[in-house]
C-alpha cells in the first residue's frame, strides 16, 4: 500500500531490527554462542518495540491510514460510475438531481444498447474487423465483466493472426495489452480482464515476460492483496522461469516493508517447501514447466520445510509479531511453521475377538475400506469377508470391522494367525490369537508418544523452548493478546503437553474471556488437548480405562485411538452428544457419562460388548433418542435418572419393549 520509500518511518522494518541487533552484538566484541545470540536478539526486539511505541507509531499509522482512506474513497467514487455490486454508498438526492441523473442514464443506456447490438449482429455475420475491435473496446472499458465481448475480441484477434504478417500481429497484440492495462487500472479486480491478459501474453509472437512481471510489481504496489494479480504473477513466473529464490526475495521485500501482508506470507508458504524441502531431494531452483498433474500443496505430507530454514523463518515471524502483535497474518504463518506433518499411512491396530467372532482394523487416517483393497488372511487362507464402517453415517472412517464366518475361531483351544493387508499402500499388520485367549490385538505403539506432539526433532527442543521464551516475553508486554496466548499454548503442547497442562488450561480461560466471540472454538480446542493428554496418560499406564471427568469437555475427538478401551468415564463435562464416531470403541463394556447435557446417543450403536450405561442427569427427552441402544446386544444395566424422558407417560413399558435385554433399569 502506498509508496513506503519516502516515509521516514516506513523503511525496511526487518533492516531496522537487524541494526538494533548488530548494535548489541558489537558491544560484546566477541563471537556469540547460539543461545546468547537468541537472547540478544530478543532484547533487540523488545527495544525496537519500545522505540516504536515512543515514536507514537499509532499517530503516524492513523495518519497514513487516513491518507489511504481518502485516496480509497476517491477511487471508490470513480467506481460508482460503473455498475458494481460492492461498497456502493446509498446517497440521498433531491428530485431535481434524480431527474438529471435519469436523463443522463437514459442517454448512456441508448448508446450502450446500440453498441452492444451492433457487436452482436456483426459477430453473428462472422465479421472480424477493426470496427468490431473499437466497439468492444468502448463497451469493455465501462463493463469489463461482459465476458462474451472478450470472447469476440479473441475471435477477431485469432482471425487477424491468419491474415496479417507476424510483425503486424505483434503490434496488434501489444496494443491489446495496452488496452487491457487501461481496463485493469479502472477495475483491477475483473476476472475477465486478467484472464484476457494471460491469453494475449501467451499468444504474443515475441512475449515480453519481464514487462508482465513489472506490471505485477506496479499493480501489487497499489494493492498488495489483489489476488488476481498475485495469480497472474504466478503464471508469469512459471512461463518465464523466474527462479524460486528470486520470488522468495520478493516476498522478503514486501514483508520487510509491511509485515501485515497475508498474501506475501501465503506466497512464502508455497515457495519455501520448493526451495528447502524437508526430504533430502535436491532443491530445484527453477520451477518445472507446466505439467499435467497438479503441483504439490503446502498442506500435504511431504512438502514441509527443512529444519534449518524453519529456524530462520521463526526469526522473521518474531520480527513481525513484536512489531505488531495484533496483526493476524504472521500468527497464521507461525502456526503453520509449528505444525506437524501428517501421520504415516498405515494400519495402526488390528483387534480380534473370539467371542464376537469379529475383526476390527484401525487406520492412521479415514478410509473407505471397500475402495482401498483391504484383505484378511486367516491361517494362510484369504477370507471372503464384508468390511463395514462402524456406523452407516461414516462413509470414510479410520475404524472398520468384519464378522468372520461362524465357528472359524470360536474354539478356544485353537491358535490362529491373522494378517490384514492394505494392498493399495503395500502395508500390512499381523495379529496372533493364542489358544486359551478370548481376544488379541497388535498395534503400533512406537508412534503413541509422538502422536500429538510437534514433529520437530528432539534435539531442537531447545529451539522451541526459546520460541516459548520470546512469546512469554511478548505476553508480559501484551497480557491480553489472544494470538500470543494461543501460540504459547501450541508451543507448550509441542514441548511437554502433560507438564504444561495447568498453564494451558489457565491460558484457555483467559482466551475465552478476551475473545468471547470465539469461545466455542477455544472450548473445542481445549477439549481436544485434554483428550490427547488423557490418551497419553493411559498409554503410560498401559491400561484400557479412559477417564476424563470434570474437564469442561465440549466435544469428543481421537475416538479411533480408543478402540481397545473397555471402560470410559466422561462424567461432569459439557457434552451434548455421543456422535457416530463413538462406536469406534468396539471393546467398550462400561460407559459412564453422568452430568453432561447429552441429548443425542447416535454413536452408542452396535457396540458388541457394552453391558452398562450410566447417563444420570442429562437431557435425553425423547424415546427415539434411546433407539440406538437397541443395537447393543449385551446391554443389561441402564441408569437414566435425571433425564426428562423418564417423566413420559408409558415410559416403563416403552423402554422394556425397546430394550428387552436390560435387566437393571434405574429411573
Amino acid at each position: 500500500m502506498g509508496d513506503h520509500t519516502h516515509d521516514p518511518f516506513m523503511g525496511d522494518i526487518s533492516d531496522m531490527i537487524e541494526q538494533e541487533f548488530q548494535l548489541r552484538e558489537a558491544q560484546k566484541q566477541r563471537p556469540l554462542q547460539e543461545q546468547e545470540r537468541k537472547s540478544l536478539r530478543l532484547e533487540a526486539l523488545i527495544c525496537y518495540r519500545q522505540t516504536l511505541i515512543d515514536l507514537q507509531t499509532q499517530m503516524w499509522k492513523d495518519e497514513k491510514k487516513a491518507q489511504l482512506r481518502s485516496a480509497n474513497i476517491a477511487f471508490q467514487k470513480q467506481l460508482l460510475q460503473l455498475k458494481r455490486m460492492h461498497g456502493r454508498l446509498k446517497v440521498k438526492s433531491t428530485a431535481q438531481q434524480e431527474e438529471e441523473k435519469r436523463k443522463e442514464r437514459e442517454k448512456k443506456l441508448k448508446l450502450y444498447v446500440t453498441a452492444r447490438d451492433v457487436c452482436f449482429s456483426k459477430r453473428k455475420e462472422g465479421v472480424f474487423d477493426e470496427e468490431a475491435l473499437q466497439l468492444t473496446q468502448q463497451l469493455l472499458s465501462s463493463n469489463p465483466d461482459f465476458s462474451t465481448l472478450w470472447n469476440y475480441r479473441r475471435e477477431i484477434l485469432m482471425h487477424l493472426e491468419t491474415v496479417r504478417e507476424e510483425d503486424d500481429v505483434q503490434k496488434i497484440y501489444e496494443s491489446e495489452l495496452s488496452f487491457v492495462e487501461r481496463c485493469l487500472r479502472q477495475n483491477p479486480k475483473s476476472y475477465g480482464s486478467w484472464h484476457h491478459r494471460g491469453w494475449v501474453s501467451a499468444r504474443l509472437p515475441r512475449p515480453d515476460w519481464a514487462r508482465e512481471l513489472s506490471l505485477c510489481d506496479r499493480c501489487l504496489s497499489l494493492d498488495e492483496r489483489n489476488f488476481h494479480c498475485w495469480d497472474y504473477r504466478r503464471v508469469v513466473v512459471r512461463m518465464s522461469g523466474v527462479a524460486v529464490d528470486q520470488e522468495l526475495r520478493f516476498t522478503d521485500r514486501l514483508i520487510g516493508s509491511n509485515f501485515s501482508n497475508y498474501s506475501s506470507w501465503h506466497y512464502r508458504s508455497t515457495l519455501l517447501p520448493l526451495l528447502h524441502p524437508e526430504s533430502p531431494e535436491p532443491p530445484s531452483p527453477t520451477p518445472q514447466p507446466a505439467k499435467a498433474s497438479p503441483p504439490p500443496s503446502p498442506q500435504t505430507n511431504n512438502h514441509r520445510v527443512c529444519e534449518e530454514q524453519l529456524l530462520k523463518e521463526y526469526e522473521l515471524v518474531q520480527n513481525a509479531f513484536f512489531t505488531d502483535p495484533n496483526d493476524q497474518s504472521a500468527w497464521f504463518y507461525y502456526r503453520w511453521l509449528l505444525g506437524r506433518a501428517e501421520r504415516e499411512e498405515m494400519i495402526s491396530c488390528v483387534y480380534v475377538s473370539r467371542e464376537v467372532e469379529r475383526v476390527a482394523v484401525c487406520f492412521s487416517k479415514p478410509v473407505h475400506a471397500r475402495a482401498v483393497g483391504l484383505m484378511l488372511v486367516l491361517d494362510g487362507q484369504p477370507q471372503r469377508v464384508e468390511w463395514r464402517s462402524v456406523h452407516p453415517r461414516l462413509r470414510h472412517s479410520p475404524v472398520w470391522v468384519c464378522d468372520l464366518p461362524p465357528s472359524t475361531i470360536s474354539d478356544i483351544g485353537n491358535e490362529h494367525n491373522l494378517t490384514v493387508h492394505w494392498t493399495e499402500k503395500h502395508t500390512r499388520r499381523d495379529c496372533a490369537l493364542y489358544s486359551g485367549r478370548t481376544q488379541s490385538w497388535c498395534r503400533d505403539s512406537a508412534t503413541d508418544q509422538e502422536l500429538f506432539r510437534s514433529e520437530l526433532s528432539v534435539e531442537k527442543t531447545s529451539v522451541l523452548q526459546s520460541e516459548l521464551q520470546s512469546c512469554n516475553q511478548l505476553q508480559e508486554l501484551e497480557p491480553l493478546n489472544k494470538w500470543c496466548l494461543l501460540t504459547i499454548i501450541l508451543l507448550m503442547r509441542a514441548l511437554d503437553p502433560l507438564g504444561y497442562e495447568k498453564e494451558t488450561l489457565a491460558h484457555f480461560q483467559t482466551l475465552k474471556e478476551v475473545d468471547s466471540m470465539r469461545s466455542a472454538y477455544y472450548s473445542d480446542l481445549c477439549s481436544k488437548f485434554m483428550i490427547e493428554n488423557t490418551i497419553l496418560k493411559m498409554e503410560y499406564a498401559e491400561v484400557r480405562v479412559f477417564s476424563i471427568s470434570d474437564k469442561k469437555l465440549s466435544t469428543l475427538c481421537h475416538l479411533d485411538q480408543l478402540l481397545l478401551v473397555t471402560h470410559i468415564n466422561l462424567s461432569s463435562n459439557e457434552l451434548e452428544r455421543l456422535p457416530p464416531q463413538f462406536c469406534m470403541l468396539q471393546c467398550l463394556e462400561v460407559l459412564e457419562a453422568d452430568n453432561n447435557s447429552i441429548e443425542d446417543l447416535e454413536g452408542v450403536y452396535q457396540l458388541p460388548k457394552l453391558e452398562e450405561i450410566s447417563l444420570k442427569n442429562n437431557k435425553i427427552s425423547k424415546m427415539e433418542d434411546l433407539a440406538p441402544l437397541a443395537s447393543c446386544p449385551k446391554l443389561r444395566r441402564l441408569d437414566l435418572r435425571g433425564n426428562p424422558v423418564t417423566q413420559m407417560a408409558n415410559f416403563l413399558s416403552d423402554i422394556s419393549e425397546l430394550l428387552p435385554s436390560v435387566t437393571e433399569l434405574l429411573l
Binding site: 499509522k61 455498475k83 460492492h86 470472447n151 498475485w230 497438479p294 495484533n326
Partner: protein
C-alpha cells in the same frame, strides 16, 4: 500500537428486525426495471441474477409471485448447440450460468425443459487433463468451475459422467497452509473459493480430507467486532462473505465457532427499510445478490420465518429432498 482493524460500526438506529414483506416486494419489482441502465449493464450475469431472486423468493415462500413460464422460456432460449447455457440471449455459454439455469429449473421441478444430456456433455467436455474444469471453451481454470460442474451434475443425478477422482485431486491440490482453498494451485485462500471447494468435497463425498480444525479456525477468525464476517484477513465485513464463511463452517461441522447473535445483528443491519433488500454493508445500496445471501445466512443461523437452506447448494432443503439429494456435512 497495533493494526487498526478494518470494520464497520453499526449505528444504534440500524434495522434490527427482519422485514420479509419488503424484501419480497423488492425482488418482485426488480425484474420490471428492464429499461434501467444498471439493469442492462448486468445482463452478462442475468441467469445468476434470476437464480438469486427466485431462490430468495422460495426461501420466503413467495416463489409463485415470479413468472415461471416466462423464465422457463428464457432459459430454453439460452441453451446453445453445445449444450451449455448462457447468462442471456446473445451471450456465450458458461459453467457459471449453466449451474444457475439448472438450479432455477430444479426450483421449478422442470429440468427437462432443457436438453439434459447435452448439458452433461458440455460439462464433461470442459474437464481438463489434470481434473480441473475450464469455465468455458476459452480455458479459464478456477475451483469455482469445479464446483459449478459437480453441483450441476449432482442436481441432474449425473455425477458419474466426469472423472470424479481426478477432479477431487485437483481441488485438493489447491489446499493452502491455512487449510483454505484458492482459485488454482498456489492461489491465496478466499472465503468464496473455500465455499466452492468444501461444497465440491461434500458433493463428492470427500470432506474427511479437509483439515476441518485448521480451516474452521481461519473461518471463525473472519468474524469482526461488528459481528459481520470478511472474506480474507484484514478486509471489510460483507453480507455475501458472511454467507460463504457461514456455509463453509456449516459444511465442516463448525458453525458454532462464531458468535451467531452478533452475525445476525450485522446481517439485519444491512437491510434497507425504505426499499427492502440487503446491501453488502449497513448503509450501502441493496441488490438481489446480497439479498439472497442475507436471507440464506439468517436461515443457517436458525431464523424460523424463512425455509431451511442447504449450505452446499444454497437452495431450499425441501427442494433437494424432493429430488433426493443430500450432500454430506461433517458432524
Amino acid at each position: 500500537m497495533g493494526t487498526q482493524m478494518k470494520d464497520v460500526v453499526i449505528k444504534p438506529d440500524a434495522p434490527n428486525a427482519l422485514i420479509l414483506d419488503k424484501h419480497a416486494d423488492y425482488i418482485a419489482a426488480y425484474g420490471s426495471k428492464r429499461d434501467d441502465y444498471e439493469y442492462t449493464l448486468s445482463e452478462y450475469l442475468r441467469m445468476s441474477g434470476i437464480y438469486w431472486g427466485l431462490t430468495v423468493m422460495d426461501l420466503m415462500s413467495q416463489l409463485p409471485r415470479m413468472n415461471c413460464e416466462e423464465i422457463t422460456e428464457f432459459i430454453k432460449s439460452c441453451q446453445h448447440e453445445c449444450g451449455g447455457i448462457s447468462a442471456s440471449i446473445g451471450h456465450d455459454p458458461h459453467l457459471l450460468y449453466t449451474l444457475s439455469a439448472v438450479q432455477i429449473l430444479t426450483l421449478y421441478d422442470n429440468v427437462q425443459a432443457v436438453d439434459v444430456d447435452k448439458v452433461v456433455e458440455y460439462i464433461k467436455a470442459l474437464q481438463q487433463e489434470d481434473g480441473s474444469f475450464a469455465g468455458d471453451k476459452w480455458g479459464e481454470i478456477d475451483t469455482r468451475f469445479s464446483f459449478c460442474a459437480v453441483a450441476t451434475l449432482a442436481l441432474l443425478g449425473k455425477l458419474d459422467a466426469i472423472d470424479v477422482n481426478k477432479a477431487i485431486e485437483f481441488v485438493l491440490s489447491c489446499m493452502n497452509f491455512d487449510g483454505g482453498f484458492g482459485c488454482r494451485p498456489g492461489s491465496e485462500s478466499h472465503a468464496g473459493q473455500i465455499y466452492c471447494c468444501t461444497g465440491f468435497l461434500s458433493l463428492t463425498g470427500q470432506l474427511h480430507r479437509v483439515n476441518a480444525d485448521l480451516l474452521g479456525w481461519w473461518l471463525c477468525e473472519r468474524q469482526l467486532p461488528s459481528g459481520g464476517l470478511n472474506g480474507r484477513p484484514e478486509k471489510l465485513p460483507d453480507v455475501c462473505y458472511s454467507w460463504w464463511v457461514l456455509a463453509s463452517l456449516k459444511i465442516i461441522g463448525r458453525i458454532h465457532w462464531i458468535d451467531k447473535a452478533k452475525l445476525r445483528a450485522f446481517i439485519l443491519a444491512c437491510q434497507d427499510e425504505e426499499t427492502g433488500g440487503f446491501a453488502d454493508r449497513p448503509g450501502d445500496m441493496v441488490d438481489p445478490f446480497h439479498t439472497l445471501f442475507g436471507v440464506a445466512g439468517l436461515s443457517l443461523l436458525g431464523e424460523e420465518q424463512v425455509k431451511p437452506v442447504n449450505p452446499v447448494l444454497c437452495m431450499p432443503e425441501d427442494v433437494l429432498r424432493r429430488i433426493g439429494l443430500e450432500p454430506d456435512l461433517l458432524n
